[in-house]
Amino acid sequence: MATGESSVSDLIEVRVLLFSVLRECVGAGEVALTLPSSATGSDLVDRLVERYPSLDPYRSVVRLAVNRTYASLDTSLHDGDEIALITPVSGG
């Protein structure tokens, strides 16, 4: 998944997708984040809440999806990952 440019770097870049109430909080459906290559899902959530404090109230209920599959917060992230923050869903 690593690109030629970033394979020698200690940083990874990921896309973060936001939906419903989180998209409205941030004002965008997608943001790019650069993280240390050791970053986990909870590091990503920390970084996002730091940048967008209005996300803080949702922190305790949010689930993570990595590349379109639910993943736990301690999952290691990789360059190019597509991460989604999923608040409690309400389909049906």
Binding site: F19, V21, A65, V89, G91, G92
Partner: protein, 160 residues
């Protein structure tokens, strides 16, 4: 608000049909898909937009809904529908399974979701259908926003 990008994205084979649709759900086609000589029972659950929602406080009058608007993380929602159908097929002997969800605006009395299964006997059909709609509501990344007759709107909290 992100509009659904395609009219319908779907994954369909002879036994399993999962789809997200920006246009009214094809109820007749869903039941035709489920009818098969191997099945002795078809269970079809259709979720629709309800006009009245009771307030938790019994002294307040029910709220009137005008329409719902559904938003999805579309590629993952479709993947999750397929995973649900496959998981159900591992738990019950399903001859057919369809999971169809509408996106975008759904006016009152129109269908937002169709869950259908066909099995040899009715007990499995009821059980699988119940499990599928309950689990869909917990897992599939779709959110609904409710527009009320008084002009207000709100994202729906699960369990409500």
């Amino acid at each position: 608000m992100a509009e659904p990008t395609d009219v319908m994205i779907e994954r369909r084979d002879e036994r399993r049909w999962c789809a997200l649709s920006a246009v009214p759900l094809p109820v007749g086609e869903a039941s035709a898909f489920l009818f098969t000589p191997a099945a002795g029972g078809v269970s079809l659950f259709i979720g629709t937009t309800r006009r009245w929602t009771e307030e938790q406080d019994p002294d307040r009058s029910p709220k009137e809904t005008e329409r719902l608007r559904y938003e999805a993380y579309e590629p993952m929602a479709l993947d999750e529908l397929v995973r649900l159908a496959d998981e159900a097929a591992g738990r019950w002997p399903l001859e057919r399974c369809c999971l169809l969800h509408r996106l975008g605006e759904v006016p009152v009395a129109e269908a937002s979701v169709i869950v259908g299964v066909a099995t040899a006997h009715r007990a499995e059909a009821f059980a699988a259908c119940r499990w599928l709609i309950d689990t869909l509501k917990e897992r599939v990344p779709i959110w609904k926003r409710e527009a009320f007759a008084d002009g207000t709107e709100a994202w729906v909290r699960p369990g409500g």
